[in-house]
Symmetry: C2
C-alpha cells in the first residue's frame, strides 16, 4: 500500500488506534504542543508508538493557544470536571476550533510533503460536545482543504460514526496495550480515574472487553 497519508496524532486511545489500524498507509504523524494540562503525557506516548512502528513523527508548537484561548483543558488539573462524560459537563474543556486549526496546519504540511490524505480520529461520542468533531464540520473542512491545495489534499475520518467502545474493540484486537496511551485531562503523574475523560476511557475499555468475550 502506498504511504501517502499524514495522521494527526495526540497519543490518546483514538488516534493511537488509528495509527496502528492504518499504519501501512501512514507516512507521517503530526502532533501539537498547545499547552493542555496533559500535553506532555500524551506526546510521550505518541512518540513511543511512532518509534515502535518506524513512522516519522513531528511535534509542532502552538504557543498562541495557551496565550489566547480559554478552556479548562488549559487551566490546570483542578479546572477539569469530575463527573460523567457528557455535553454539559465537558463544555468547559472545549478548545475553540482545535480540530480546525490542527487540520489546517496538517493540510499545509501534507501539501508541502506531497501527501494525499490527512487522517483525524474524531468519533461519534464527541459530536455533541465538540462541534469540530461532527460530520458537518469534517465534510466542509474536507471541501476546504481540497479546494485550497494544489494537490487536492483530502481528509479521511473513518471513526466519525463509530463509538469509542468500537475503537477500543479494534485496538484490543490489534493487540494495543492501552496503558501506553493517555486520556486523563488532568495530566498528573498517573491517570486520575475520576475525571470525565478517564471515566469515558474506562467505560469504553470495559464495554469492548465484554463485546470480545461474547465473540
Amino acid at each position: 500500500m502506498e504511504k501517502n497519508t499524514l495522521i494527526v496524532l495526540s497519543g490518546g486511545m483514538d488516534s493511537t488506534t488509528m495509527l496502528y489500524e492504518y499504519q501501512q498507509q501512514i507516512a507521517l504523524a503530526v502532533s501539537f504542543h498547545y499547552g493542555s494540562n496533559h500535553n506532555d503525557k500524551e506526546l510521550h506516548f505518541a512518540q513511543l508508538h511512532c518509534q515502535r512502528l518506524g513512522i516519522k513523527h513531528i511535534v509542532l508548537p502552538l504557543p498562541f493557544i495557551k496565550d489566547y484561548f480559554r478552556s479548562s483543558l488549559l487551566a490546570g488539573a483542578d479546572a477539569i470536571p469530575s463527573d460523567e462524560y457528557n455535553e454539559q459537563n465537558m463544555h468547559s474543556t472545549v478548545v475553540p476550533f482545535r480540530n480546525g486549526i490542527m487540520l489546517a496546519i496538517a493540510a499545509g504540511i501534507a501539501e508541502n510533503e506531497q501527501l494525499q490524505y490527512i487522517m483525524l480520529a474524531n468519533h461519534a461520542g464527541d459530536h455533541t460536545i465538540y462541534p469540530d468533531c461532527r460530520p458537518e464540520f469534517v465534510n466542509a473542512m474536507n471541501e476546504a482543504v481540497q479546494a485550497g491545495t494544489w494537490n487536492n489534499v483530502q481528509l479521511l475520518t473513518p471513526y466519525t460514526n463509530i463509538s469509542k467502545t468500537e475503537i477500543a474493540r479494534r485496538g484490543l484486537t490489534l493487540g494495543i496495550n492501552y496503558d501506553e496511551t493517555w486520556s486523563c485531562y488532568r495530566g498528573g503523574e498517573q491517570q486520575c480515574g475520576t475525571c470525565a475523560t478517564c471515566r469515558e476511557r474506562e467505560q469504553a475499555l470495559m464495554e469492548a472487553k465484554q463485546l470480545m468475550d461474547k465473540e
Copy 2:
C-alpha cells in the same frame, strides 16, 4: 454599528484597505509572524494602522511554518521572482494552505472572544496563483468554520471578486497613504520595485489613479 468582527491583517495593501473600509465593525486585528522575508516590514505597518484607528491588535507566532514549509517567500530575498505577477512566476511564493491556517486560528480566536465574523482580504487577482484565495475555498471554509464553532462564526471576504486596482481605488478614496503599507516580498530596507509583488502594487496604484482622474 456593532463591533463584532475580527480581521486577518498583514499590513499589505489589501488588508489595510479592508481595515479602513470596515473599521466601524472591527473589534480585533490578528496578524501572524510566520517567518516570511517581509514579515517584520508588514507587521510594522499593521501595528501602525491599528494604533491609529484604536483597534486592538495581536500578533501570533507560527514558528512551524518556517521550520517545515518550503516556499521562496520563506527563503530570502534572492529566491523571489523578479518578473510579471502571474501564475507561473509566482508559484514558488505559495505557502501551502496559508489562508486556511490563518482562518482556522482566527476562527478559534473569534469563538473565544465571542466575535461573529472573520474578515480576509483575498481578491480576484490571486485566484489563479493561490488556491486558498478562490471562492471555492472561501465558501467551503466558511461552512467549516460555521459548523465547527458553537457561535457559528462566519467568514466575510468582500474583496473575493474585485481586483487589486479596485481595492487601491477604494483605499485612495478613503485617504490611505499606501507608503504606509508593505508589498515587497524581498523585505529589504526599501521596497525593491522589481519583484513581481512590487510590480503588481505599482500597476494597481497607477490604474486606480487613472480611474480616479476620469471620475
